[in-house]
């Protein structure tokens, strides 16, 4: 008895592997790379609702940079982004270090800190909007406790509405930062703690001078992750502030989507999108460099 081979000619498995990848390659080339290229092309045309292919040079960029709404939106990217990333990292790091002190109920606490990441930004926005609602929300609650003049009307103030975005954003993402940093802490060699006890170095000094520098690559990972959240952020703004009051809390993503659809100014949206992509590229380049820098330092 010998094993009979199928006579039907079969594709070689490696050929099949290549064929399997083909749809994905096509999809990404069309969906991502094609979209990026097309967007860049459109930013040099006067397209309104539908694409028009007439070269207008950098006119759209000039118009965009002179648009006040874009200036605010782009600025907000850095105000919101800086505060959101800063507080997520700070809060996440503090929580991670505290949880690393052998506390009781660690897994329950961790569950509580992390659950918002399971929720959408829509739900996050709705919950915080309700909480910050001036008539029945926190303001009303604090006033009912006796502080009659307490005002927490963040949402209707053009200067301060952006902080509601920061609070809700940090609430949503600090837990994730904590979990990633906590995993980083746990992966640090436990011998260094023994060594520090032998040398009589206080714990807080160990964290400051030894542990946190060792966490640098993990911090960069968090930075990249949070930056991507910032650059993409759309839903939270739409639900919580609607970009308002006025367009004081506008962000590039909302500016872009509004101009593509509601305002039918494809050219301006494309120019804005191109600038946003350049921003992403810059963030990635900086993070790659700083990661390398961190590696070189250790």
């Amino acid at each position: 008895m010998t094993i009979s081979h199928r006579t039907r000619p079969r594709l070689r498995p490696r050929t099949v592997a290549q064929l399997v990848l083909l749809p994905t390659i096509l999809l990404t080339v069309i969906g991502y790379h094609g979209s990026i290229l097309w967007t860049i092309v459109l930013s040099f045309t006067p397209s309104r609702m539908l694409p028009v292919y007439r070269w207008t040079g950098f006119d759209m960029y000039e118009r965009l940079l002179n648009t006040e709404r874009w200036q605010v939106a782009y600025q907000n990217l850095f105000i919101f982004g800086g505060l959101y990333i800063g507080f997520c990292l700070l809060f996440g790091l503090v929580l991670a270090i505290l949880l690393d002190q052998g506390v009781k109920g660690r897994s329950i606490l961790q569950t509580i800190f992390l659950y918002p990441i399971a929720l959408s930004f829509v739900v996050t926005g709705l919950a915080w909007k309700w909480l910050l609602n001036p008539t029945t929300g926190l303001q009303d609650f604090v006033r009912s406790l006796g502080w009659e003049n307490f005002t927490l009307d963040l949402l209707s103030s053009p200067d301060r509405a952006i902080y509601t975005l920061v609070i809700a954003g940090v609430w949503h993402s600090a837990g994730l930062t904590m979990v990633i940093l906590f995993a980083g802490l746990q992966s640090i060699d436990h011998e260094i703690w023994r060594a520090s006890r032998v040398d009589g170095i206080p714990r807080w000094r160990m964290y400051l001078h030894v542990v946190i520098p060792m966490l640098w690559p993990v911090v960069v990972t968090c930075l990249v992750l949070l930056s991507m959240n910032v650059v993409r952020s759309y839903e939270l703004i739409v639900v919580l502030t609607g970009g308002g009051p006025g367009f004081s809390t506008d962000v590039p993503a909302k500016f872009i989507i509004d101009h593509y659809f509601a305002r039918q100014s494809v050219c301006l949206a494309s120019a804005a999108e191109t600038l946003r992509l350049l921003t992403v590229a810059a963030i990635l380049a900086i993070s790659a460099l700083s990661r390398r820098g961190g590696e070189a330092a250790t």
Binding site: A17, Q101, L109, Y115, C222, L225, L277
Partner: protein, 290 residues
């Protein structure tokens, strides 16, 4: 000496727990007030403080939200949207995971010549803000004549999820011994046989991890649903956002809104509570190395 040190330690511990409990309160409060509000009735929610306990807690608001709340002019509640979201999630996540696993397998274990180039291409997809593809895709779908159909929204979700999911599977498969594939080739198994009979049974954990990432991603999406799903396949997130914005009577019923919000949040929340460490791995998998 030992007493002073002990009391210092005790004060430190108290401070530690005080901080942790405050933090826990910060994280819990929004969910708690949404829950409390959802148990009230409309009048009570509008007039009382959000921190008041409901006077006669009941699930009436949930029933209204589910069956008769108005979204725009459609007053059939969000139940239809719930099933839309379920269908979308099952189809989009199922297809994404299937393709991502096959892709990851092909990229990791077959020494393909351009594997690294393809990987780099996918990596761009994982980092580019996904909104960039919205307008071009709208145009393409409009030209193809299937804009705002089930096929359109599922395609978009698959396209959006594929890069990161493929990377997750690929990174897992790279860790498997390559000799497994060699043995299977000597035994005469083809690409799909090897994947189905040898690789798939080894991939359960990574399917859970990637599945969590995919399911929460699709379920929680708002913008893609808003633009690509059309009225027939509108997902729950979109309807709950517009439920809060529009209100048929003019007087917002916060109890119903919060019930709907909670119902929207419930599936990923349950997934989170029951999948434990897989969830953490899932949401951080996107972060690892990137």
């Amino acid at each position: 000496m030992s007493t002073t040190r002990n009391s210092g330690v005790i004060i430190g511990r108290i401070g530690l727990y005080a901080f942790l409990i405050t933090a826990a309160a910060f994280f819990m409060i929004p969910l708690v007030i949404v829950f409390l509000t959802s148990l009230k009735d409309g009048v009570e929610a509008r007039t009382g403080s959000i921190f008041d306990l409901p006077q006669s807690p009941d699930l009436d608001s949930y029933v209204i939200a589910w069956t008769s709340a108005c979204i725009g002019r459609d007053c059939n509640g969000i139940s239809g949207r719930f099933w839309n979201s379920i269908t979308l999630t099952v189809l989009a996540s199922g297809l994404s995971l299937l393709f991502a696993s096959l892709n990851g397998f092909a990229l990791a274990m077959w020494n393909l010549r351009r594997a690294n180039l393809i990987l780099a291409m996918l990596l761009i997809g994982a980092f580019v803000p996904y909104q960039v593809m919205i307008y071009p895709l709208v145009r393409m779908f409009a030209i193809g004549g299937f804009h705002q159909t089930l096929a359109a929204i599922v395609t978009v979700h698959v396209l959006f999820g594929l890069p990161i999911l493929t990377l997750i599977f690929r990174n897992f498969y790279v860790g498997l011994p390559p000799e497994l594939i060699k043995a299977a080739r000597v035994d005469g198994a083809g690409f799909f046989q090897t994947w189905r009979l040898i690789i798939l049974p080894l991939s359960l954990n990574i399917f859970i991890v990637a599945g969590i990432l995919s399911v929460t991603g699709v379920w929680n999406d708002y913008l893609l649903g808003l633009i690509f799903a059309g009225a027939n396949w509108q997902p729950m997130t979109v309807s709950v956002a517009s439920l809060a914005a529009t209100n048929a009577t003019g007087v917002p019923d916060h109890a119903v809104n919060m019930s709907a919000t909670l119902l929207t949040a419930l599936p990923p929340l349950l997934l989170y509570l029951f999948s434990g460490k897989y969830f953490v791995r899932g949401v951080t998998a996107g972060a690892v190395k990137g």
